[in-house]
C-alpha cells in the first residue's frame, strides 16, 4: 500500500511541476514574442484618437494594468500571487466582469459536454475495435471504415454538417446555443428540458468523432493479442471463447488507456472548435469571442483553464491506469 501512495505521490508531484511550467509558458510566451500584446491592444484602443497625450495615457494605463512597468520576474510573482486568489484580471470585452467570472460561467458547459462525450466515445470505440478484430467481416470492412471516415473529418466539419442536416433541414434539434434564447438559466423543468434538447447534437457529434480513432487502435491491439501464445494455449486447453475474449479485451484495453491520455489534448481542442459551430456557451465560444475582440486577459485565462483541465484529466487517466494494470501494481508493491 505504501508503494501505491509513493507512486501516486510521485505522479501528482510531476503533474504539479508540469502545471508550473504550463503557467510559466502561459505567462512568458506572449511576452517573449516580437509583437508586444500591450502595444497592440493600446493601438486598437486608441484608434481614431488624435490627441497624443490621450494615446500616451491609454498606453500607460494598459502598461500598469499588465504590470509591464516592472521587471519580468517581478511580474511573474505578481501574476502567480493573483492566480492563487483566483484573480485573472478584468475582461476587456465584458467590462466590468472579471475574467474569472466569464470563465466560471462557461467552463461548466464545456465540462458537462466533453467529459461524457469523450468517455462514451472511448468506450464505444473500444467495443467497435474489439468486435472488428474478433468478428471481422462486415464490421471490419464496412462499419469500421465508416467511423474511420467520420473520425477523419475535423470535429467542426462534422458539427456543421450535422447542424445543417438535423437542425436546419430536418428541424429535429435547435440550430445553436446551450438553451432556448427566450429562457433564463434557472432550475425549472422547462429550462432543464431546453438544455437537454440543445445538448443532444453537440454531444453525439463529439461521440461519433471519437469512436473511429479509438476503434482503430483497439483493433490493432486486439489482433495482436489474439495471436499471442496465451490465447493459443487457452484454446488448446479448451477454454470457452467468451472467456478468452475477456482476457484479450482486458489486455488490449491497457494501451488504449495510455492512448486516451495521449490524444486527450487533441480531442479537447477539436471539440472546443466544434463548440463554436453550435454556438455552445462553453470555453470554445468564449475563446473565439476573446480572440475576435482582442480581449487578451480573457484569452490568457481560457488557455490556462484548458491546460489545467487537460492536465487534471491526464492525471486521472494515469491514476486509473495504475489501479488497473497489474504490472504497475506489482512493481509498486515490491518497492
Amino acid at each position: 500500500m505504501k508503494g501505491f501512495l509513493k507512486y501516486y505521490g510521485k505522479r501528482v508531484m510531476w503533474y504539479l511541476l508540469t502545471l508550473v511550467i504550463a503557467v510559466m509558458l502561459n505567462f512568458l510566451l506572449p511576452r517573449l514574442m516580437p509583437g508586444d500584446p500591450v502595444k497592440q491592444i493600446s493601438i486598437q484602443a486608441t484608434q481614431g484618437v488624435t490627441d497624443p497625450n490621450a494615446v500616451q495615457r491609454v498606453i500607460e494605463n494598459y502598461t500598469k494594468e499588465f504590470g509591464l512597468d516592472k521587471s519580468v520576474p517581478e511580474q511573474f510573482v505578481i501574476y502567480i500571487g493573483k492566480l492563487f486568489q483566483g484573480d485573472m484580471g478584468v475582461s476587456f470585452s465584458r467590462y466590468p466582469k472579471t475574467v474569472s467570472d466569464v470563465i466560471g460561467s462557461s467552463v461548466g458547459w464545456t465540462l458537462a459536454l466533453q467529459i461524457p462525450a469523450i468517455i462514451l466515445g472511448w468506450i464505444l470505440g473500444n467495443l467497435l475495435g474489439a468486435v472488428a478484430a474478433y468478428v471481422g467481416k462486415w464490421v471490419d470492412k464496412i462499419v469500421l471504415p465508416i467511423f474511420m471516415f467520420f473520425s477523419n473529418t475535423p470535429a467542426f466539419g462534422l458539427a456543421i454538417i450535422f447542424l445543417t442536416l438535423f437542425s436546419v433541414n430536418l428541424g429535429w434539434f435547435p440550430v445553436g446555443g446551450g438553451y432556448g434564447y427566450d429562457l433564463l438559466p434557472s432550475f425549472t423543468a422547462q429550462f432543464i428540458g431546453s438544455v437537454f434538447h440543445h445538448y443532444q447534437l453537440p454531444f453525439w457529434t463529439m461521440v461519433i468523432i471519437t469512436i473511429g480513432g479509438q476503434a482503430i487502435g483497439m483493433r490493432s491491439m486486439a489482433i495482436y493479442e489474439l495471436n499471442t501464445d496465451y490465447v493459443k494455449y487457452s484454446r488448446f486447453l479448451g477454454i470457452r471463447d467468451g472467456k478468452i475474449i475477456r482476457y484479450v479485451f482486458k489486455n488490449a484495453m491497457l494501451p488504449q488507456i495510455t492512448g486516451l491520455a495521449l490524444s486527450l489534448g487533441g480531442m479537447v481542442a477539436g471539440n472546443l472548435v466544434a463548440e463554436i459551430i453550435f454556438s455552445y456557451p462553453g470555453l470554445g465560444s468564449t475563446m473565439l469571442a476573446a480572440i475576435s475582440t482582442r480581449d487578451y486577459p480573457l484569452l490568457s485565462g481560457c488557455t490556462l483553464i484548458i491546460t489545467i483541465m487537460v492536465l487534471i484529466a491526464n492525471l486521472v487517466v494515469e491514476l486509473v491506469y495504475g489501479m488497473i494494470d497489474p504490472r504497475i501494481k506489482a512493481t509498486q508493491l515490491e518497492s
Partner: protein, 413 residues
C-alpha cells in the same frame, strides 16, 4: 527495397489512399487553368452552383421556335418555394388535407389553389405582410394563366417605350448561343469568389502548410528521439522530461498563445506552418526514442561500435534505416494533423492572414462567420470540409496500408 515497394502497391488500403490523395493533389492545380483568379470577386455574396446567363444576351440571342408550349405548363413556371407556400395556405385555411396535396403534381396543386384560395378569407394568425404575399402569389398565378403577351421594349430618344420584339411562348434560345455566361460549378462564397477556383488554391496552400509543419515536427522529433534513445543517460532523461511535459500540455494551447502574440501582420502561411511544426513534435520524438532504445543493443549496432565507427555513422547507417519506415508513417500523420491544426486555428480567427492567399481553414472560418449553414449555402462549406476530410482520410489510409506491410501481424487473416 523493390520488394517492399511492390508489397506496398499490393496493399489495397494504401493504393486507395494514394489515389484519393493524388486526385486531391491534382485538384490543387485547377486554379491555374481557371478563367477566374482565386480571390477574384465574380459575384456578390453567395450564389448557388450553376451556369449563369446574361439576361440581355439571352434576349439578343437568335430565337428558335420549338413546339413546346411553355404557357401550357404554368406549374413549371412556379418555383419550389411558391409551391410550398401554396401548400401551406391550402392546409391552414383552404381546408384541404395535407396528404391530398402532392407538390410533384403541379397541375393538381394549381387546380386546388384556384378552387380554394380566397383573398377575403380572415386568415387568422397571419401578419398583413404575409397575407399580401399570398395575394401577390395569387395575382402572379392568374397573370400566368391569362397568358399576356410579353414584349421587349426600349426607350427611344424622347424617353418613351418602343416595342422592339414580341416574345412568343414557343421561343427558346440554345444555351451554346448565349454570349455571356458564367460557369460556377461550386457556386460562390460569401465574398462572391468562385468556390472551385478558390478551393483549389486553398488546397494547395493547406497542403504546403501541412508539408512544412509536418517536416519541421518530424525533423525535430527524429533528432531529439535519436539523441535521447541512443545517447541515453542524463540527456535522455532531460529530453524525455521535456517531451512528457509537452505531451500533456495541449499543443493547441501553445499554438494559440504564440499565434495570438505574434500579431496578425506577421502571420503568413509559412509562419503559421512553422509554429504548428514547432509545437507538434513530441509524439514523434516519443515513438522514435522507444524504437531506437529497442535497436540500441542489437548485435549489428554493437558490432559497429566495436569496429570503432563514429557516433554519427552508427546513427545514420545502423539505426536510421530501421526507423525509416516508421519515420515515413510519422511524417504522413504529422502532415495531416498539421493541415487540421491550421484549420482549427483559422476557425478561431488565428489562421494565416494574407490578402492574396487563402487556406481551407480560412474558407471555413468565413463560411461560418457568414452563417452559410443557416442560409442554406451548403456549397460554401461542404466542399471545403470534404477536401480536408479527403486529405486526412487518404493519408491515414496510406498509413494503415504501410503499417500492414511493415507490421505483418496486423494483417489479421
Amino acid at each position: 527495397m523493390k520488394h517492399m515497394l511492390k508489397n506496398i502497391m499490393r496493399t489495397p488500403k494504401f493504393v486507395v489512399g494514394f489515389v484519393l490523395f493524388f486526385l486531391t493533389f491534382l485538384l490543387s492545380f485547377y486554379y491555374m487553368f481557371s478563367s477566374f483568379d482565386a480571390m477574384e470577386l465574380v459575384g456578390s455574396g453567395f450564389h448557388a452552383p450553376g451556369t449563369y446567363y446574361n439576361i440581355s444576351d439571352i434576349l439578343n440571342t437568335k430565337e428558335e421556335i420549338l413546339n413546346y408550349e411553355s404557357s401550357a405548363n404554368i406549374e413549371n413556371q412556379l418555383t419550389v418555394q411558391e409551391k410550398e407556400s401554396m401548400k401551406d395556405w391550402l392546409v391552414r385555411f383552404g381546408e384541404v388535407a395535407e396528404e391530398d396535396i402532392d407538390l410533384g403534381d403541379g397541375e393538381a396543386l394549381l387546380a386546388l389553389w384556384l378552387q380554394h384560395y380566397d383573398a377575403n378569407h380572415s386568415q387568422e394568425g397571419l401578419l398583413t405582410a404575409e397575407k399580401k404575399t399570398y395575394s401577390r402569389l395569387d395575382k402572379t398565378i392568374r397573370e400566368l394563366m391569362e397568358n399576356p403577351e410579353t414584349v421587349i421594349a426600349k426607350r427611344n430618344e424622347e424617353g418613351e417605350l418602343e416595342e422592339k420584339k414580341e416574345l412568343s411562348p414557343n421561343a427558346f434560345v440554345r444555351d451554346e448561343n448565349v454570349g455571356n455566361k458564367v460557369n460556377l460549378p461550386l457556386g460562390t462564397d460569401n465574398f462572391g469568389a468562385d468556390m472551385l477556383t478558390k478551393l483549389s488554391a486553398a488546397i494547395g496552400v493547406s497542403l504546403r502548410i501541412g508539408l512544412i509543419a509536418g517536416s519541421i515536427a518530424t525533423l525535430i522529433g527524429i533528432v531529439l528521439g535519436l539523441t535521447a534513445g541512443y545517447v541515453g543517460g542524463v540527456i535522455d532523461n532531460l529530453i524525455t522530461f521535456i517531451t512528457n511535459i509537452f505531451t500533456v500540455i495541449p499543443s493547441f494551447v501553445i499554438l494559440i498563445l504564440i499565434a495570438n502574440s505574434i500579431g496578425q501582420a506577421a502571420r503568413g502561411p509559412e509562419v503559421v506552418a512553422t509554429i504548428i511544426g514547432l509545437t507538434a513534435w513530441p509524439w514523434t520524438c516519443r515513438s522514435v526514442r522507444s524504437q531506437v532504445i529497442s535497436l540500441r543493443n542489437r548485435d549489428h549496432v554493437n558490432l559497429s561500435k566495436l569496429s570503432g565507427h563514429s557516433l554519427p555513422r552508427i546513427v545514420t547507417a545502423d539505426i536510421l534505416p530501421y526507423v525509416a519506415s516508421y519515420v515515413i508513417m510519422a511524417l504522413i500523420l504529422q502532415i495531416s494533423s498539421g493541415i487540421l491544426a491550421e484549420a482549427q486555428l483559422s476557425m478561431l480567427g488565428l489562421g494565416p492572414s494574407a490578402s492574396n492567399v487563402t487556406t481551407l481553414g480560412i474558407m471555413m472560418q468565413w463560411a461560418t462567420k457568414f452563417s452559410a449553414h443557416t442560409l442554406g449555402a451548403w456549397w460554401a462549406f461542404i466542399p471545403v470540409i470534404l477536401s480536408i476530410t479527403l486529405i486526412t482520410f487518404s493519408m491515414n489510409l496510406m498509413n494503415t496500408g504501410l503499417d500492414q506491410v511493415f507490421n505483418p501481424q496486423l494483417r489479421g487473416e
